[in-house]
């Protein structure tokens, strides 16, 4: 686009916000050093607290929200953003799935858990509540997940968004990208890898470094969670008799770290042999 065009053409208004999270996803955007000028040139970034100071909070075309809803303050902020945005995008695992702070939501009452961790203290924070993903409260139009997000996935999505197209969602698991990278499968090396049930888009970065998948991008569409758990807990692979099995609770803990309540429910439904009540 030439400068003349830019003056006359209205750029889409975009706001980038953070609720409860480590802000790592916004940081990933700020770290797009080679593309940051393009980001600010392709859209009117009306609000991005981490990157700029003259923020305005009005009607916007696209809201990009990081973090989970973990307090009443978060919730008010989110509802306000939703009201004044046409498209709302959940950014990062916390916004899409609740993040690690939502890992044991189902376990006990929230107040009880807070007490166990912090004791009887007076809260200066605005009313903490159970951490939940954005979709638990408002309509989320698109998700860009990951912990942190993949820079290129974000840029591709933004490129399409500013031109009026929705991002193309990924629908395959990490294993596909892991094979693109010609990695040795960690499941055959006695590692508890969640690759087969986890949404791809990360270019299998952990497995490329010999670290089994934690599932930080959340479950892939139609994830066979039952099959994965059955394999990890019970299956004896006839071609590889030495492959070891894992304790069900360990598998569950790992899956819940980023998958939270959703994963817990899927696992409970699966009724894997060896699961304790």
């Amino acid at each position: 686009m030439n400068p003349e065009d830019r003056k006359t053409k209205q750029l889409p208004k975009v706001g980038i916000y953070g609720l409860t999270s480590c802000a790592g996803d916004q940081l990933t955007i700020v770290n797009c050093e080679d593309q940051i000028l393009d980001i600010f040139g392709s859209a009117e970034i009306s609000s991005f607290l981490m990157a700029k100071s003259d923020n305005t909070e009005g009607e916007i075309d696209v809201a990009i929200v990081e973090g989970s809803v973990s307090s009443k303050g978060d919730l008010e902020m989110l509802e306000d953003i939703r009201k004044r945005s046409k498209v709302l995008i959940a950014l990062g695992n916390c916004a899409c799935n609740g993040g690690p702070q939502a890992a044991c939501v189902a376990a006990e009452d929230h107040k009880e858990r807070m007490k166990q961790v912090y004791g009887d203290v007076k809260w200066s924070l605005p009313d903490p509540i159970d951490a939940k993903p954005l979709s638990a409260y408002v309509k989320v139009d698109m998700q860009i997940t990951g912990c942190p997000i993949d820079k290129w996935e974000f840029l591709r999505a933004l490129g399409r968004l500013v031109k009026g197209d929705g991002p193309i969602p990924i629908s395959y698991p990490v294993c596909v990208e892991c094979k693109y990278n010609e990695n040795e499968c960690l499941l055959f090396k006695n590692e508890m890898c969640l690759g087969p049930i986890t949404l791809a888009g990360c270019n299998s970065v952990c497995i490329n470094h010999n670290i089994p998948c934690f599932g930080c991008r959340g479950a892939v569409i139609e994830a066979n969670v039952a099959g994965e758990a059955e394999m990890l807990v019970n299956m004896k692979h006839p071609q590889f008799p030495d492959r070891k099995n894992f304790d069900y609770q360990d598998v569950k803990n790992r899956a819940m770290m980023y998958g939270g309540n959703t994963m817990a429910e899927l696992l409970d439904k699966a009724k894997v042999k060896g699961a304790k009540k």
Binding site: G159, R160, G164, D165, G166, I168
Partner: protein
Amino acid sequence: MIDNSCIAGDRSNPFLPEMMRIVRRFDLTSDVRFFQVRPTEASRALTLYYKPGTFMMVSNPGVGEAPLSISSTPSRPGLIEFCVRNVGHVTNSLFRMKENDEIGIRGPYGNGFPIETLKGRDLIIVMGGLGAAPLRSLLLYALDNRDDFGEIYLLHGAKNPHEMLFRKEFYDMMERDDLHCMLSVDKDDTGKWPAKVGLVTSLFKEIKHIDPKTTHAAICGPPVMYRFVLQELLKLKIPKHQILMNLERRMKCGVGKCGHCVVREVYTCLDGPVFSYWDVLNMKELIY
């Protein structure tokens, strides 16, 4: 030199789209839009050739590519016409395009209707919903070469008058005495519908004077339509291999490489999209 004169695109690179200009577009229904396109090089427009029932791969730069049935007939050369329903990324983006914008086109692909076999035969054309898109091509072709065909029956069903594609064009056809044009809507919410109210299958009673042995049927419509229409056609004793269907599949290449449209050993893009009912019976998965 590889001759590219009668195809859109490039024979030496079958994936390379040729840019074409949108000359006209208008809404057929609330979610289906009609597009007329023409090669940017005007001299190419008249040489492009395709068979009724074939499809083109349509690209919008930056968005992607999707297969679209051709709605126009080769007997009226110069323009290629498509009906686009706003359902995917590519079609969504096409809805934003204006006259004189350019899109990428390559094709035609697929077997198309066996025009040579159909010559001298009676035709029953049954369309529903967006199925009107490919069958309009066949219908217009047959009407433009009217002497080559026997009796022609057109059965077109829609949910309501607003949902009927090309309704104006088909209204006018009701006047013709060389075509049995039968239109029906499931429900008339306008009160002004001049034709039948009822399911498309109810129109079959009016088919007379056909010899099933020399009659071919062509069907295209939503999956639910097939079962009931097929029953009616079998009641008319039309042989299974003379019942032709234009099928839809996910496709990424159109030329038998990407694999998405495979059913058993058949590539919908090369061996289809027109299949006979006999093929369908032979190959589970082809329609459902």
